[in-house]
Amino acid sequence: MGGLQAVPLLWYQVLAAVLFTIGVVGVLVRRSALVIFMSIELMLNAVNLSLIAFSRQHGNMDGHIIVFFVMAVAAAEVSVGLAILVSIFRSRETANVDDVHLLKG
């Protein structure tokens, strides 16, 4: 494939920003814990995209490595987070974050 002058790298960044924003919206606005979690994953993906695009721009594979680690950590995070969710849901019968406020100070 030829050079990517056809698609300026900036557009990839813009796409990443948009996806990230949508993820933020999801985190702030949705009440279901599961969906909030998914929105966080969406944000992570947006960041991955940004990293890959920069990596392409600099011609250097460090971005790929970072994305690799992001994925690994995301996997770890998801497993633990879901385990927590499961135990909350077991005792509470609800996945609505508005209902879980026992730590109210």
Binding site: L42, V67, A74, L85, V86
Partner: protein, 170 residues
């Protein structure tokens, strides 16, 4: 030519699925739409010469993580909540802050300051750019230390998940 077209297609799908994730009632739908986002992102990765990462995206992210999500959703039999969005002022706050983040990020990238340090277009890529061999070479030399720590992290996560999900503690 082909690039912009492919880019437009993949990005459109990605954004559309993302909006769907955020605004759908049924969590199963949200999960599946998220898978869609990830797959379209994999496509974009390929456009960016990151073949190996694209493969990883599909295998790990879409294939393992999202599957886990779906397991949990179905296990807990979560219905969509009513109301869908958080009521009241918090909703307004949420949209407002998100908007500000969006503006900030775009500003960072698009402003002249953000453009500094970036090389002009078309840096010549090495032959094996994006290949597993190249990634592996980097991973096991420069980035060896983070690699080892990440493996420990994964171990910790496994143990943590097992402990947290038990019905009873010993």
């Amino acid at each position: 030519m082909l690039e912009p077209l492919l880019f437009a297609m993949f990005s459109g799908v990605a954004v559309g699925c993302a909006l769907g994730v955020v605004f759908h009632k049924n969590p199963v739908h949200c999960a599946l739409l998220l898978v869609g986002v990830m797959l379209s992102l994999a496509g974009i990765f390929i456009l960016l010469h990151a073949q190996f990462v694209a493969a990883l995206q599909v295998i790990i992210y879409a294939g393992a993580i999202m599957v886990l999500f779906l397991f949990v959703v179905m296990l807990l039999n979560v219905k969509g909540e009513t109301p869908l969005l958080t009521p009241g002022a918090a909703k307004g706050f949420g949209f407002f802050f998100a908007l500000i983040i969006c503006v900030e990020l775009l500003w960072t990238v698009l402003s002249p300051g953000g453009q500094e340090g970036a090389p002009s277009e078309a840096v010549p890529l090495p032959r094996d750019f994006g290949s597993p061999a190249a990634l592996g070479r980097l991973l096991y030399t420069t980035w060896l230390y983070p690699f080892e720590i990440t493996s420990i992290l994964l171990l910790v996560a496994v143990v943590g998940a097992v402990v947290l999900a038990k019905r009873k503690f010993f």
